[in-house]
C-alpha cells in the first residue's frame, strides 16, 4: 500500500472506526487512542495490506484492540456473554435515538459489536465473522438475539410512534 492509499484510508474509514469504537466503549479518549493504535499498526503492516482489504483489516484490528482494552479495564468479564435479558423500557418516549442507544448499551458486548458492524458498515455475516473471529452461524445467532432483545426493550411501539 502506498502512502497515498494509506492517507486515503484515513479519510475514508477513520470516522467509521471511531464511531464503532465509541459506541462500544463510550469513552472518547480511549476511542481516539484505539483509532491511532490501529492506524499505527496499519502503517507498520502497510507493505502486506492491500488497499481493497484495508477496511476489513482496520475494523478487525480496531475490534480486537478494543476487546483487549475492555478486558484490561475489566469493564466486562465475558465479552462472549449472550442471552442476557435486557428488560424493557418503562419510561415515556421522548427521543427514539435515546431509547435505542440505551437499549444498545444494555446488550452484551459481542451482540452490540456485530449489530454495529452490520448496521453501521453494512458488513456481511462472513465479513463480520472474519473481523470478530466467530463463525458465520455464531454471527447470525448474535444478530438475531441482539435484535430480539432490542425489539423487546423498545416495547410498546404505539406509544412511541
Amino acid at each position: 500500500m502506498t502512502v497515498e492509499d494509506y492517507n486515503k484510508s484515513v479519510n475514508l474509514y477513520s470516522d467509521g472506526i471511531y464511531r464503532f469504537i465509541l459506541k462500544n466503549i463510550k469513552n472518547q479518549d480511549e476511542a481516539k487512542d484505539i483509532v491511532q493504535d490501529v492506524y499505527e499498526k496499519l502503517w507498520v503492516k502497510s507493505g502486506d495490506v492491500s488497499f481493497d482489504k484495508v477496511k476489513s483489516y482496520l475494523f478487525s484490528a480496531a475490534y480486537h484492540t478494543m476487546i483487549d482494552k475492555i478486558r484490561k479495564n475489566k469493564r466486562i468479564t465475558n465479552i462472549s456473554e449472550y442471552g442476557e435479558d435486557i428488560g424493557f423500557y418503562s419510561g415515556t418516549y421522548n427521543d427514539l435515538n435515546e431509547v435505542l442507544t440505551e437499549a444498545l448499551d444494555r446488550l452484551p458486548g459481542i451482540q452490540k459489536s456485530v449489530i454495529l458492524l452490520r448496521d453501521y458498515e453494512g458488513y456481511s455475516y462472513k465479513e463480520i465473522a472474519e473481523i470478530t473471529n466467530l463463525s458465520e452461524s455464531q454471527v447470525k445467532v448474535y444478530i438475531y438475539r441482539g435484535r430480539l432483545a432490542l425489539k423487546k426493550y423498545i416495547g410498546r411501539l404505539e406509544v412511541l410512534v
Binding site: D119, L148, L150, L157, L160
Partner: protein, 354 residues
C-alpha cells in the same frame, strides 16, 4: 434456487412430512406439489399411513412442524422472519409472501415495525478529529524529480571523470600499487646516492679551501710531528682534485607509467625525491589528474572542481555544451553556482554567502 422434480422429489417428501425441510425447501416442495397433483395425492396417502400397530400418536406435531412462512399459533417463527426480512436473508418469493402477510395483518405489521427500529443508524456528526496525527507525509513529485536528476547527474559525472582520466591510466595506477615494494627499494637506493653526492660535494668544498691556503702553509716552518699528516693531506688533495673534475651522472629511472615521476631533477647536481606515500594514493592521483586536465591553480580541489571536471568530461564525450560556473561578489566571495545545458539551467545561491 432449489430444483425439485419427479426424479428427486422422494428425498424431500419424507423430510417435508417430518417437518425437517428448511423454509426455502419447504416452499419449493409445496410449489412442486401444486404443479404435480398426482404426487400430492400420493403424499396425502402417506400422511395417513398408520406406521405402527399400536397407533401411538404425538399430538403436538403441529407445534413441531415449521410453517412455510407464518402461522398464528404460539410457536410461530414470526420473529425469525421479521429479522430475516430486515437482514435481507429471505428469498424473493419468501419476501413477497411475508410482505403480503404483513400487509393483510396490521398487528403483525406493527410488530415488524418495531424490528425496523432496531437497525442502528450511524451518527454522522461523530467524526474523528485527529486525522492529521495519523496521516503520513508524502514525497512530493518535485522531490522525486530531484532524486532522479541527482542520480542521472551522478552517473554522468562518473562517466565524465572516467572518460577524462582515461581507462588505461586507471588500470595502470591500480596495477602500479602492486609494485610498491619495488619502488620503495628504488627510493632507498636513490636516497643513498643523493646523500653520497652531497657528502662528496661538502668534502670537495673543504679540500678546495685547503688547496687555496696551501701556499701559506708550505712557506711556514713544518713541525716534524705534522710530516706524516701533510703527506696524507697531499694524497687527499690529489683525490679531491680528481673528484672535483667528476660530473654528477644523470640518474634516469624509467617507469612503466611516465606520468608518475618519483624523481625530478632540479639541478645538474641533485635530485629531489617527491613524497611517495602521498603521491601514490588514489585521491592524490585523481587530484593531480584533474588539475592537469582542467588546469586548476588552487591546491585544494572541492566538490565544485570535481563536478566541473566531470561535466567537461561529459561535454568531450558526447559533444555537449554544458556549463558549470560560479559567479563572485565584488569582495571575491562565491555568490552563485550556475549550471546550464540545452535542456535546462539551474542557479543556486552559495550556502556560505553572508
Amino acid at each position: 434456487m432449489i430444483d425439485i422434480n419427479l426424479n428427486n422429489y422422494e428425498k424431500f417428501a419424507l423430510d417435508f412430512l417430518e417437518g425437517n425441510l428448511s423454509l426455502a425447501k419447504r416452499y419449493a416442495f409445496l410449489s412442486f406439489l401444486k404443479k404435480n397433483p398426482d404426487v400430492e395425492d400420493d403424499l396425502k396417502l402417506l400422511e395417513n399411513i398408520n406406521w405402527s400397530e399400536d397407533s401411538f400418536v404425538f399430538d403436538e406435531k403441529i407445534n413441531l412442524k415449521k410453517q412455510l412462512v407464518i402461522s398464528d399459533n404460539k410457536k410461530s417463527n414470526f420473529d425469525e422472519l421479521c429479522i430475516a426480512k430486515l437482514e435481507n436473508d429471505l428469498s424473493e418469493k419468501e419476501n413477497t409472501l411475508f410482505t403480503d402477510y404483513l400487509r393483510n395483518n396490521k398487528l403483525k405489521f406493527n410488530e415488524y415495525k418495531k424490528y425496523t427500529y432496531t437497525v442502528q443508524r450511524p451518527d454522522k456528526s461523530i467524526v474523528f478529529n485527529n486525522k492529521e496525527l495519523i496521516r503520513r507525509k508524502q514525497n512530493s513529485s518535485l522531490r522525486k524529480v530531484y532524486s532522479i536528476i541527482s542520480v542521472a547527474a551522478t552517473i554522468l559525472l562518473i562517466v565524465g571523470l572516467y572518460f577524462l582520466i582515461n581507462e588505461q591510466e586507471l588500470v595502470l595506477q591500480v596495477a602500479n600499487n602492486y609494485e610498491n615494494s619495488v619502488k620503495e627499494e628504488a627510493l632507498i637506493k636513490a636516497d643513498q646516492s643523493k646523500r653520497r653526492i652531497e657528502s662528496s660535494e661538502i668534502k670537495i668544498e673543504n679540500k678546495i679551501k685547503k688547496i687555496s691556503s696551501k701556499k701559506d702553509y708550505e712557506t711556514k716552518p713544518k713541525p716534524e710531528q705534522f710530516k706524516s699528516d701533510i703527506r696524507l693531506e697531499k694524497a687527499n688533495i690529489k683525490r679531491a682534485n680528481l673528484l672535483a673534475k667528476l660530473q654528477p651522472k644523470d640518474i634516469e629511472i624509467t617507469w612503466s607509467m611516465k606520468e608518475i615521476e618519483l624523481f625530478k631533477p632540479v639541478s645538474n647536481s641533485c635530485y629531489v625525491v617527491i613524497d611517495q606515500s602521498e603521491y601514490l594514493s588514489l585521491s592524490t592521483f585523481f587530484r593531480n589528474k584533474i588539475k592537469e586536465k582542467v588546469g586548476f591553480k588552487n591546491e585544494r580541489i572541492g566538490v565544485f572542481d570535481v563536478a566541473k571536471a566531470g561535466i567537461d568530461g561529459v561535454n568531450s564525450l558526447f559533444g555537449l555544451d554544458m556549463k558549470l560556473e560560479r559567479t563572485y561578489t565584488s569582495e571575491g566571495d562565491v555568490d552563485r553556482t550556475e549550471f546550464s545545458s540545452q535542456l535546462f539551467a539551474i542557479s543556486t545561491p552559495s550556502k556560505n554567502k553572508n
